[in-house]
């Protein structure tokens, strides 16, 4: 396989708050292959969004990337200047956010918001940019795009707004799209449509995707690779079949057991007991041990990521069979 689009190595993003250091992303490494979908899964607060923002250079104070490398096509984007970073954003890497009701500017027309995304990265005439915007809208399945271009966001439904956001993300044919829970805020029926649309479009354009979600069932049909995140760290990694078919980390197991579709009818849904720990001044050791039924005394030592079988690795002293 050719060189991956993205190689993240030991990324650390910490927030230096008055109360202490929040290690939102702590030693995260993964690879995204060209044209593949990498599912980044975990409960809310586990650091998925901050991982995405780190890749985009969108971490705001008091947060800061304190270590690691983000190699996009072999070049470390952490070392880029502000202007180089801007040129990368929305051009080579695009991002879609969770709540489509909030991501479009309410007082600007759709055409304004699409055309500015094009001209931020290349010199095109106003007419060409307009035509590109219309083409992008029709590609994501928005009917009569010419008319819709002059509409305002509030004239679109949530699902349609997310389609607009996807169209904007695809405008400059990025190599990588970071989709941060793009279907979480939508109705179930719409979720399916958006999922299908994203899958189709990224396959057509060959863009790789980091699909962030807390919902394992979404990842099942979509992802090639899966990384499971917990308390700012990746705890399990592998192909979708490996991780979903034979999870080795108790946390992944717990997540899978709490997905309704995976349970026999009538059987009670299992919940992982307890809550995600606060990332503020997290004590050493496995952060999951408080909630883990397999925990033993040696879990007070911080586990390292270790490979188990080809392609699957886990951060656990006592991986499941």
């Amino acid at each position: 396989m050719s060189e991956p689009v993205l190689r993240v190595e030991e990324l650390r993003t910490h927030f230096f708050t008055k109360a202490g250091v929040v290690k939102a992303v702590d030693d995260v490494s993964f690879i995204v292959n060209r044209g593949e979908v990498m599912g980044l899964v975990g409960e809310s607060g586990s650091g998925k969004s901050m991982t995405g923002y780190s890749l985009m250079g969108l971490i705001d104070p008091p947060g800061r990337i304190v270590g690691g490398r983000i190699l996009l096509d072999g070049i470390d984007v952490i070392k880029l200047s502000g202007e180089e970073m801007r040129q990368m954003r929305g051009n080579r890497v695009a991002m879609i956010f969770q709540d489509p009701m909030m991501t479009l500017n309410p007082v600007l027309r759709i055409d304004t918001q699409m055309i500015e995304a094009i001209v931020a990265h290349r010199k095109v005439s106003a007419g060409d940019a307009h035509a590109m915007a219309a083409a992008a809208l029709s590609k994501v399945g928005i009917p009569s795009p010419e008319e819709r271009l002059s509409a305002y966001p509030h004239q679109f439904s949530g699902g349609m707004r997310q389609r607009v956001a996807i169209a904007i993300a695809l405008l400059n044919k990025p190599d990588l799209i970071i989709a941060d829970e793009p279907t979480t805020a939508l109705d179930v029926t719409i979720q399916g449509q958006i999922l299908y649309e994203m899958q189709k479009l990224t396959r057509e354009t060959g863009a790789a995707v980091i699909w962030i979600t807390h919902d394992l069932s979404v990842v099942a049909g979509l992802a090639d690779q899966v990384s499971v995140m917990y308390a700012g760290r990746i705890v399990e990694q592998g192909t979708a079949e490996q991780v979903l078919g034979r999870p080795r980390h108790p946390y992944t197991r717990g997540l899978l057991d709490s997905v309704p579709a995976n349970n026999a009818r009538g059987a009670r849904l299992k919940q992982i007991p307890g809550m995600t720990p606060s990332l503020l001044d997290l004590p050493p050791g496995c952060p999951f041990r408080e909630r883990c039924s397999y925990a033993q005394s040696d879990c007070a030592r911080t586990p390292l990521m270790r490979p188990l079988t080809a392609g699957q690795s886990v951060r656990c002293h006592h991986p499941l069979a």
Binding site: R89, L104, A117, A120, Y152, I168
Partner: protein, 326 residues
């Protein structure tokens, strides 16, 4: 839209009517203008003749009725003191006040919005903190005191600017006397306009800063950054377009307030505007002028409100003017 404007118009008429009744009764209750207007040595006959001439011999409801029917024809009565129509007395002074208010609002906008934006973008910087601290002064220092200080510093000590009056005027469109075409006019305008602007500079700083601060936290700003837009475009278009909505509202409403509160500044700087006329008229209980002045001010407020609403709906695509909105 049309229904909306008609509805607002009808509401305004009711407001104006109630206003006029209140002022009428109010001035009547304060005292008798005759005691002030007539030479104390005048004999009883002179007195009664004067009272009859001003229509003050009639019972109050009848006086009001006379005023009311006149007002319907655009006649607001004659000034007790100057014996000229109250309305023309006021209109004569209006350009001076409007000029002062416009200049003050211009200063407020030109300084308030950029400073507020700066403070909003760098809330923890030294400049940002200084701006915010300064804006507290702008709020809390009384206008007349600041006016006196401005005169002290710039007129008395430094001698740079004149302390009172208005510069030479020319007639704009052959109709409206304005003073901002000459250097001397500007020199006269500078201090009173600054004085009047101060509160609004502070207000706009606070408003812009709060708006910018809030807008920057919104997802649409994050998305705009994710698109790779320049900071210039994000601040200048995405943020500014959103915070312009409350700013336009406040600028509009404050413009009415500026005209009304020009009274203090006009008194301090002897600026020959409507406010000074009002003070003089209250001193001598010149009821027709007081009533006409207040009616004009209220009318202005109403018109400004309407303009603000229309602008608001133009700026915010989510707002549509409907009848149900009061």
């Amino acid at each position: 839209m049309l229904v909306y404007i008609i509805r607002r118009g009808l509401q305004s008429v009711v407001v104006l009517f109630l206003m006029s009744v209140l002022v009428f009764v109010g001035v009547y209750a304060i005292g008798n203008p005759i005691d002030i207007l007539i030479n104390p040595q005048a004999d009883q006959q002179d007195r009664e003749r004067a009272i009859a001439a001003l229509g003050l011999d009639k019972p109050l409801p009848e006086q009001y009725w006379t005023f009311f029917t006149g007002a319907l024809h655009g006649d607001f009565g004659k000034s007790f003191v100057h014996a000229t129509p109250a309305i023309s007395l006021i209109l004569e002074r209006m350009p001076a006040t409007l000029e002062l208010a416009f200049a003050a609002m211009l200063i407020a906008v030109v300084f308030g919005i950029p400073l507020g934006l700066w403070a909003g973008l760098r809330p923890n910087g030294i400049a940002g903190r200084t701006i915010m601290a300064g804006s507290i002064l702008g709020f809390s220092l009384p206008t007349f005191w600041v006016g006196l200080m401005l005169i002290m510093v710039f007129s008395v000590v430094l001698g740079w600017l004149p302390s009172n009056g208005r510069g030479p005027t020319v007639d704009l469109f052959g109709l409206i006397p304005v003073s901002f075409f000459s250097v001397d006019g500007w020199r006269h305008l500078m201090l009173p306009a600054t004085n009047l602007a101060l509160f609004n500079v502070a207000l706009l700083i606070r408003l812009t800063r709060a708006g910018a601060h809030e807008a920057l936290l919104q997802d649409y700003v994050k998305f705009a950054r994710a698109k790779g837009l320049t900071n210039r475009r994000i601040i200048g278009v995405h943020v500014l377009r959103n915070i312009l909505i409350p700013i336009v509202t406040v600028v509009g409403l404050q413009f009415g307030a500026l005209i009304a509160f020009a009274i203090v500044t006009e008194s301090v700087f002897a600026w020959p505007g409507m406010g000074k006329l009002l003070i003089d008229s209250i001193n001598v209980l010149d009821r027709p002028v007081i009533v006409a002045y207040l009616l004009i001010i209220v009318t202005m407020f109403i018109v400004i409100n309407l303009v603000v609403d229309v602008l608001y709906s133009a700026l915010d695509p989510r707002v549509r003017l409907t009848e149900s909105k009061g």
